[in-house]
């Protein structure tokens, strides 16, 4: 409909943006799998570059959204909401890029005891982001039936709690290991960063819930 052209363009770009971030996270999860299976090396460096490229693409789309909003699409309050959401979604891609870069730069490899936890965290985060993508699509096309999104909201929150628990156990295992404290702290920081992605996901779902609540008569 020409009447909603600018606005539809923004929503279309938002879809592209979350797709780009999901792809970035997918590459990140693959990188961690490679790291767990083959250790550091050329492939991790290549993957780090790929994650970086995916992050840049997501960032470019975010700037396109900002440009579209500058044309005057949507109400100022809605623009603010969208800017906050895309900023948070972009934080996921930034986090993925940063973690894999640090792993590569600091030559970090996970101990065998920690590998299952790292895998679980990254896979659960990926699943949580899929729920989030679904939730975003639904809310922007049918925000009135908030009760129908209860399942996604619940799953996002549940996954975040599970990830927190896995993180806690992994750090507990790490600090019981007979290695240098500096090494423990270095790996702990990376584990926390990986688990942090799900916190961002939950923050975004909270923001989406606010959008529904504020528009309810």
């Amino acid at each position: 409909m020409p009447f909603f052209k600018k606005e539809r363009e923004v929503l279309e770009l938002m879809n592209q943006h979350i797709e780009a971030v999901m792809y970035c996270n997918q590459l990140f999860v693959e990188s961690l799998e490679i790291l767990n299976e083959k250790g550091l090396g050329f492939e991790i460096e290549r993957m780090a570059k790929e994650v970086g490229k995916a992050e840049s693409k997501a960032d470019d789309i975010r700037h396109e959204i900002i440009q579209s909003l500058l044309k005057g699409a949507l109400l100022p309050e809605s623009r603010r909401e969208i800017l906050n959401i895309i900023k948070k979604i972009d934080d996921i891609a930034n986090k993925c890029e940063e973690i894999i870069k640090q792993i590569s730069l600091q030559n970090i490899e996970f101990f065998e005891e920690l590998k299952p936890s790292i895998k679980k965290i990254s896979l659960k985060t990926k699943l949580q982001l899929q729920y989030l993508q679904e939730l975003i699509n639904k809310i922007f096309t049918n925000f009135y039936h908030g009760e129908e999104y209860h399942n996604e909201l619940l799953e996002i929150s549940k996954l975040e709690s599970e990830i927190d628990e896995i993180e806690y156990n992994a750090i507990h295992t790490l600090f019981n290991m007979d290695i240098e404290l500096a090494k423990k702290n270095q790996i702990k920081a990376i584990i926390s960063d990986i688990a942090n992605i799900s916190d961002i996901g939950e923050d975004i779902s909270d923001m989406l819930e606010m959008i529904m609540v504020l528009r309810k008569v």
């Binding site: 309050e77 009135y144 528009r215």
Partner: protein, 320 residues
């Protein structure tokens, strides 16, 4: 053709300007505060629709007030000047003292003040005005309750899309703002120039509504930013739909009184609308400050205007 206009309308013009800079801020205040509409656009729309409303709907109120004023002994240019001066001073003093401004009440109070000295005070007519002022917020409570409930039952469920919701709010703010400005112009223009029209014949009804509308528009265009900001901040605390329904209700209530020909306060109507929305939502939106302002508008404003007018008319009596 040169139209001779009595200089006595200067005090009415000042009152019109004050009314424009104060009362007309209600129309687009919420929309400007939420930055849905730019201030400049809002004042241009308000000015246009105030003049339109005044010219197309203002005749009824002008007739009623001019008759009441003439029958109260305000039958010479100097008396008309003094009544409007008393009302304008009241409004200015109240603005300086940060007290709520109600132009309709100030004008009626000033007429009564003059009429007391003239020995022609007609309190039976005043009761009718007072009754209308009293009904204004209560009527707004009922209308906003019905509008809000209808929106909840029939419209909300149909708006599923984020974008469509946005558009409805945006268009709604434009339409309700323009309608409110139109109603306000049609209703409140009687406060500004009606005293010079009718039997006193300083202005024809057409001249009265046109000049009155222009002076209100001038107030909107030159000095409404501050009040618009203050009023808007209070309305923005509500949800977008609530803000929209408050403004629309204000417009509807004022429009109804325009058809009856009695000038009323748009601010009082909006306060009533907010209370009505609170009733639907089951929350207490009654602010003691707003109630105090309304009570002051009903009793304080006409009393102060009446006393100032009484003082002016006493001086006039001593000199004649």
């Amino acid at each position: 053709m040169i139209i001779m206009i009595s200089p006595s309308i200067i005090s009415g013009a000042v009152l019109g300007w004050a009314l424009g800079s104060n009362g007309a801020a209600n129309c687009f205040a919420a929309a400007v505060s939420t930055r849905i509409i730019k201030y400049r656009t809002a004042i241009i729309f308000t000015a246009i629709f105030v003049v339109l409303g005044a010219c197309l709907e203002g005749g009824k109120g002008v007739q009623k007030i001019s008759d009441y004023s003439y029958n109260s002994g305000i039958n010479t240019p100097i008396k008309a000047f003094l009544v409007m001066l008393a009302a304008a001073i009241t409004i200015t003093l109240m603005t300086i003292m940060h007290l709520p401004v109600s132009t309709s009440q100030a004008v009626i109070g000033a007429i009564i003040g003059g009429a007391l000295i003239e020995g022609k005070a007609d309190f039976s007519e005043v009761v009718k005005f007072f009754y209308a002022w009293f009904i204004t917020p209560f009527g707004a409570i009922i209308i906003s309750f019905i509008l809000y409930k209808s929106f909840e039952l029939f419209i909300e469920k149909r708006i599923k899309d984020y974008i469509v919701y946005d558009k409805i709010i945006k268009v709604g703010y434009y339409v309700s703002g323009m309608f409110s400005a139109y109603s306000l112009g049609g209703n409140n223009v009687a406060n500004v120039t009606s005293i010079y029209a009718g039997k006193i014949n300083l202005l024809t009804t057409n001249q009265a509504v046109f000049i009155g509308g222009l002076t209100i528009a001038l107030g909107v265009l030159t000095y409404s930013r501050g009040v618009m900001k203050t009023v808007g901040e209070n309305l923005v605390a509500l949800s977008p739909v609530s803000g929209l329904i408050s403004v629309l209700t204000g417009g509807i209530v004022v429009y109804i009184y325009t058809q009856i020909g009695i000038p009323v306060s748009a601010s009082h109507a909006i306060v009533g609308a907010v209370i009505g929305i609170g009733l639907v939502k089951g929350i207490n939106t009654i602010r003691m400050e707003a109630i105090r302002n309304i009570l002051f508008g009903w009793f304080g404003t006409p009393t102060i205007a009446g006393m100032i007018s009484l003082f002016f008319f006493s001086l006039l009596c001593l000199n004649s």
